[in-house]
Amino acid sequence: MAATSGEARRAQPVTTTAQVAQSRDVGAYRQLTLLAPGVAQTARPGHFVALAIGDERSSMLLRRAFSIHRAAPGEAGTVDVVVADAGPGTHWLSELRPGDEVAVLGPLGNPFPVPTAPTSCTLVGGGYGSAPLFWLAEVLRDRGCRVDLVLGAATEQRLFGVETGQQVADSTTVTTDDGTTGAQGRVTDALPQVLQRGRADLVYACGPMAMLRAVTEVAASHGAVAHVAVEESMACGVGVCMTCVLAVRDDDGCTRMVRSCVEGPVFRGDRVRWDAWQDGLGQVPADALGAPSGGH
């Protein structure tokens, strides 16, 4: 199994008001380029930002979390995010125009751990879940890794970054549920072949929970370790509210309800208690530390 570096994983988050430098449609999504040098400086692939919706009079109090698609440090210091218009908050963000302002909090969470030595890696993205993978691919390639990419979505419009993938990865495989482009099927249908071809030791995945679970299982059956970025509802993003927990086994095999915002969002797939997660509900396993719950 490949060693991954744990150094300097968490970054010092900052709160800042960013100007929107660009906003453009990319398939079914909207890509925002935000001027946020303080965030861009320390961001690494897998970090996320939390964007506030509206001003201090907004009826939507909670920030929305977005994987950083790409950060360009430097004086201008931009951070790109890819937004799916899924509800009122993301809708508000989708309508931002260049020059508008948005409050940004980040970089948050733990980024993808990267191998210390050249390793063969397969990156799997579902829908907008591919957003952080291209930057990760570049970082991995810079370290001498082989990178194979698998991108899937329900339909062509909901794929993100296929062209970029073709530029940054050694191979790019595309699947769609409806077969509008690429192979018809799921990413996990294509994954075994990609893993075999690339002899991957490491798998990185970002997308819906059901996909992450399946990717973890396929990776394991091919002797690879999966690092998956989960997406739990988060109220604070910084570790103070305990809304974003997930059942995860620690080194000693003990299951704890850990905060995905600060102890994740990237977890080793084989540590996540997938059996406790279904249909949008995250159960507290009976053997978890401090289970069962009572009180409120």
């Binding site: 109090l61 909670l62 509802s233 604070c236 993003g237 159960q283 401090g290």
Partner: protein
Amino acid sequence: MGQEVDLSTQLAGLRLPNPVMTASGCAAAGRELQQFFDVAELGAVVTKSVMRAVRSGRPTPRMAETASGMLNSIGLQGPGIDAFIAHDLPWLRSVGARAVVSIAGGDVAEFRELAQRLGDQPGVCAVEVNISCPNVANRGLVFACEPASSAAVISAVRAVLPQRIPVLAKLSPDVTDIVQIASACVDAGADGLTMVNTLLGMSIDLDRLRPKLASRTGGLSGPAIRPVAVRCIWQVYAAMQAGLLTQVPIVGVGGVRSGGDALELVLAGASAVQVGTAIFNDPCAPIRVRDELAHELAQRGIARFTDAVGRAHATPAPLTPAHTTPAPLDL
């Protein structure tokens, strides 16, 4: 401008440099917020309600956004009192923060034990008793819904804590008569009252056609509930002024997002103010609220914070008979 205002306040013998605290459960034990500002600059850090044992809390989803508010059903996930004393309290001391420790229990004995454990710990400035948790002995009815069970918890806690540590009873607004509960708590020895905890609420997922929270109901917080918090503070403060219950300081909480919001609670009768849900919108909210509050006071020519406490109770100017000189225009 802010510097001119004396923000210090007094809570039952405890002197604080300023009246702004974090609300329990919205700042963990302060450590994560230290990345954004120095928590020692706050009046106090109120820690997440701690119970005897480690607790894994409720299933997820544990939160849902609502109009100008949110629902939560964390289920008091926490490390238990031992780990809290071993890790969190010493950290708070190490950075010089004033710690108000919130405790919760399923029965009176658990509350008593928690208070006992905390009584001889250095760095405990006050204990806030979260009586808005289910009483296992009484069909899970929350303590704060009944005067008798509220009083039982408070007197047990008061009895085992050294006198120098004030006990704050944290009340639920979900009662028919909050003055009655406040009264029971004060009679049982509460040195102060924290008002209010969340309102019981619920939200339905229109796609899945089921409650959004895995636990179905949850606590409603945020600006949406501020009018309820202000009303509760007002009612209890007025009852104290009227001599219906012993005067103790009130710590206001509920929907504070700005210094102006904090001032609203203060004018209604709060001697200190906690910031909760607003932290999720802005992790710097508590310290920003402190600065904005100083500014709001200065703007109104109020030099001492304590002069603002309960000020809205001064009767509005009575209507005098018709007179023909109009007040100066201020168009």
